[in-house]
C-alpha cells in the first residue's frame, strides 16, 4: 500500500439531497459520490452549486475544493468545474 497523489478532478457519480437537517450544515445538502479521474470513488459534498436535482447532474465534471475547519481537520469538497471543460 502506498499514498498516491491524485488530480482532484472527477465526475459526479451519484448523490442524495438530505432534507432532514444536520447540525452545522445548511439544509438541504447533497451527499455525493465523486468518481475521481484516477478511477477511485469517494464520498463528499458538492458545494458552490444549487442543491437541486436540476443543478446536480449525474456525470458532471467536478473539482476538489479544500475547506479548513480546524488545525487538524480539512475536508475535501467538490464543486462544478467552472470553465466547463470535461475532466
Amino acid at each position: 500500500m502506498a499514498v498516491e497523489e491524485v488530480s482532484g478532478r472527477g465526475t459526479l457519480y451519484s448523490y442524495l439531497i438530505n432534507h432532514t437537517g444536520h447540525p452545522g450544515i445548511a439544509s438541504p445538502y447533497s451527499i455525493a459520490v465523486v468518481q475521481l479521474d484516477e478511477g477511485v470513488r469517494m464520498m463528499s459534498n458538492i458545494v458552490n452549486c444549487d442543491q437541486t436535482p436540476e443543478a446536480l447532474v449525474i456525470d458532471m465534471s467536478v473539482e476538489v475544493v479544500f475547506e479548513v475547519f480546524s488545525d487538524e481537520i480539512t475536508l475535501p469538497f467538490f464543486q462544478p468545474v467552472s470553465d466547463g471543460t470535461a475532466s
Partner: protein, 379 residues
C-alpha cells in the same frame, strides 16, 4: 446440502407490534421467545443453541434462563437472522446442538431499555460521516440516482413499490399502515433525502420475532406443520455504501442469493413466494434483479406490471413489508416469519398452493446479506 436438513418447528412474533411503550427490548425478546416456544410445544430447557443480534446473546440468554451449548452473535444488520438460520443448520449438522432458538426484538420506536449498537463502522466514520450522513435515510439510497441514470428506472416505478406493498398490507390486520396509496401520494409525500420521499422509507416501530429450528428428522415431535430449510447463503460487501462495487447491484445479494438457490437446488422458476427486505423502496428492485427474477434494469417494469402484486406470478413482501407492515430496525426476522406463515398456510394474505418461499435480507447499507429458501414439502 450435507448433513440433516433443517426444519423450522417454532415461529412467532411478539404479542403486540407497533408502538409498545411499556416493554423493554429484553422483554420483547422474551415475549417473542416464549411465543415461539409455545408454538413448538417446548420449554426453555429444550433449547441447547441460541442466536441473536443487536443485543448480545449473553444478555438475552441470561434473561431467558437459557443454558445454550452453542451460541451465535453474528450481528451484521437486519439480515443477521437469516445468517443465524444458516449457521444453526451447520451447527446442528455438526452435532454441536440439536434445538436452536433465534430471537430478534427491538424497541426501535419507543427505545425502552435499548441496547447500544455500534452502528457506524470505523471506516464509515472516517470516510462518510464527515459529509453529513445521519443514518440509513442519508446513506442507503445513495446508489439509486446512478442506477436510474444507467438503467432507466423511473421515480414513478420506485414509488410504485410502496404502492403495491400497501395493497398487501391492506390484507394484513397486523400491518401498521393499511389504507391504499397511489404513486402520486408517494411522490407527493415529504421529501426525506432526494430521491426518497417519506412513503419510500420504512416504518420505525417496536416488536420482535423468534424461530426454533431443529433437524428435519425430528419434525414429527412437534405440533405444527414443519417448514423445511432447503438452502441458505450469506455474504458481505462493504461497510461504506459509497464503496459499493456496482451501484446497480449488491454483491452481497448475489453471493447470498446464489448460494441459497444452489444449495436448495432450485431456480427462480421454482419460487412461489418472495420476501425482499425493504428498508427503502429501491431494495426489492435490487433484490429481484440480483436474485435473477429480472434482468438488469427490468425490475421497475416487473413490479409495475403487477407481477409481485396480489394475483401476480411472484407475490412479494406479502405482509406489507418494512414500508407498511412493521420495521423495528432489523427487519430480517419479520421477512422470515412471513415466509414461514406462507409455507404453513397461515398468512393473512395466503398464496394458495405455494410450496417454495425465499427470504432475502440486507444488513447495513448494502453491507451484508442473508438468504434462506423455505418449503413445506420435505426434500
Amino acid at each position: 446440502m450435507s448433513g440433516p436438513t433443517l426444519a423450522v418447528v417454532g415461529a412467532a412474533e411478539t404479542t403486540q407490534m407497533g408502538v409498545i411503550t411499556d416493554t423493554s427490548e429484553l422483554q420483547l425478546h422474551a415475549d417473542a421467545a416464549f411465543n415461539a416456544l409455545a408454538d413448538a410445544g417446548l420449554t426453555i430447557k429444550d433449547i441447547d443453541g441460541f442466536a441473536t443480534a443487536g443485543e448480545r446473546p449473553t444478555d438475552v440468554a441470561h434473561y431467558l434462563g437459557l443454558e445454550p451449548r452453542w451460541v451465535d452473535g453474528t450481528s451484521v444488520g437486519g439480515c443477521s437472522f437469516m445468517i443465524h438460520v444458516r449457521h444453526a443448520a451447520a451447527a446442528i449438522a455438526a452435532g454441536l446442538c440439536t434445538t436452536v432458538l433465534i430471537t430478534h426484538a427491538e424497541s426501535g420506536k419507543s427505545r425502552v431499555g435499548k441496547a447500544r449498537q455500534a452502528f457506524t463502522s470505523a471506516l464509515s466514520g472516517q470516510f462518510e460521516r464527515p459529509f453529513g450522513v445521519t443514518g440509513p435515510p442519508t446513506m442507503f439510497g445513495l446508489p439509486v440516482l446512478r442506477h436510474m441514470h444507467d438503467t432507466g428506472l423511473t421515480h414513478e416505478q420506485m414509488a410504485n413499490v410502496a404502492v403495491v406493498q400497501r395493497e398487501w398490507a391492506g390484507m394484513n390486520p397486523r400491518a401498521t399502515f393499511r389504507d391504499p396509496i397511489t404513486v402520486e401520494d408517494v411522490l407527493g409525500s415529504r421529501m426525506i433525502a432526494y430521491p426518497f420521499h417519506l412513503l419510500e422509507c420504512c416504518l420505525v416501530t417496536d416488536g420482535g420475532g423468534a424461530l426454533i429450528v431443529t433437524s428435519a428428522d425430528r419434525t414429527m415431535d412437534f405440533p405444527t406443520a414443519p417448514v423445511y430449510v432447503l438452502g441458505h447463503g450469506e455474504g458481505v460487501e462493504t461497510p461504506m455504501v459509497s464503496q459499493m462495487e456496482n451501484f446497480s447491484s449488491s454483491k452481497a445479494f448475489r453471493i447470498a442469493g446464489g448460494d441459497a438457490f444452489a444449495s436448495a437446488e432450485i431456480t427462480t422458476a421454482d419460487v412461489d413466494h418472495l420476501m425482499v427486505y425493504d428498508a427503502f423502496a429501491h431494495l426489492p428492485l435490487y433484490g429481484l434483479e440480483d436474485l435473477g427474477f429480472c434482468g438488469r434494469g427490468e425490475a421497475g417494469d416487473f413490479v409495475w406490471e403487477r407481477n409481485t402484486a396480489p394475483g401476480g406470478s411472484l407475490p412479494m413482501n406479502t405482509n406489507g413489508g418494512g414500508l407498511s407492515y412493521m420495521h423495528s430496525g432489523m427487519y430480517g426476522m419479520y421477512a422470515m416469519q412471513e415466509s414461514i406463515r406462507q409455507m404453513r398456510g397461515t398468512a393473512p394474505a395466503q398464496i394458495e398452493g405455494a410450496e417454495v418461499s425465499v427470504s432475502l435480507g440486507v444488513g447495513g447499507m448494502f453491507g451484508a446479506a442473508g438468504c434462506v429458501v423455505f418449503s413445506n414439502v420435505a426434500p
